[in-house]
Point group: C2
């Protein structure tokens, strides 16, 4: 047993090869990270997805996959689509509030200009 196996190889109970595709992104001290991604996508699919990406984008891909997997574990029906719906509502609310406030500015400016004109 190699005590320096990455978290993925430890989870999969296999030898961690020198060129292990998981090792750079799944350090041995964070076993939950791989467990979550494995539960949702499966190790084979994650490995396949990483292989299809250039090296310099893999760390970001792992982070986004982990985020999505965690969201799916937390919310098995909506996953991170639930977060997207929530954010869309927030954007909509903020835009409505903005439109209302812009109308208030327009009213206040009109009244101001009327008051100033009536001074002459």
């Amino acid at each position: 047993m190699n005590p320096k196996r990455c978290a993925a190889c430890k989870y999969l109970r296999r030898r961690c090869p020198k060129d292990c595709i998981f090792a750079p992104y799944f350090p041995p001290n964070d076993p939950a990270k791989f467990a979550c991604i494995h539960r949702i996508y499966g190790a084979g699919n994650v490995s396949k997805m990483l292989q299809q990406l250039p090296d310099q984008t893999r760390a970001e891909a792992v982070e986004s996959l982990c985020f999505e997997a965690k969201c799916r574990v937390d919310d098995p029906v909506y996953g991170c689509v639930g977060i997207i719906h929530l954010l869309q509502t927030q954007v909509q609310n903020a835009q409505n509030e903005l439109a209302k406030t812009q109308a208030e500015v327009a009213v206040a400016q009109t009244r101001l200009s009327q008051t100033q004109n009536s001074d002459f």
Copy 2:
């Protein structure tokens, strides 16, 4: 060959059983829907996720999984996390714009009340 096999069983080249877990959500006339979800999660993982859910939530779960899978195919590095970042930026921008406009309302109202007071 059963011409009424669901898109999933057709894709997996297997007989579509009477109680097929995929059939209600993957009609034969939309083969791309299953292909996409299979490519990202694998049929076994999708089946397992659906089995763990009550019947009445499965349709929504399939829709959100399909959405996430499509996002991952379109953007293999960020998937739908890219959309989340974009929406977070939109919320932030709208909130900044709102704060600016609220400040404009306050200024206009202060000037208005000063102008009105100076009339007396």
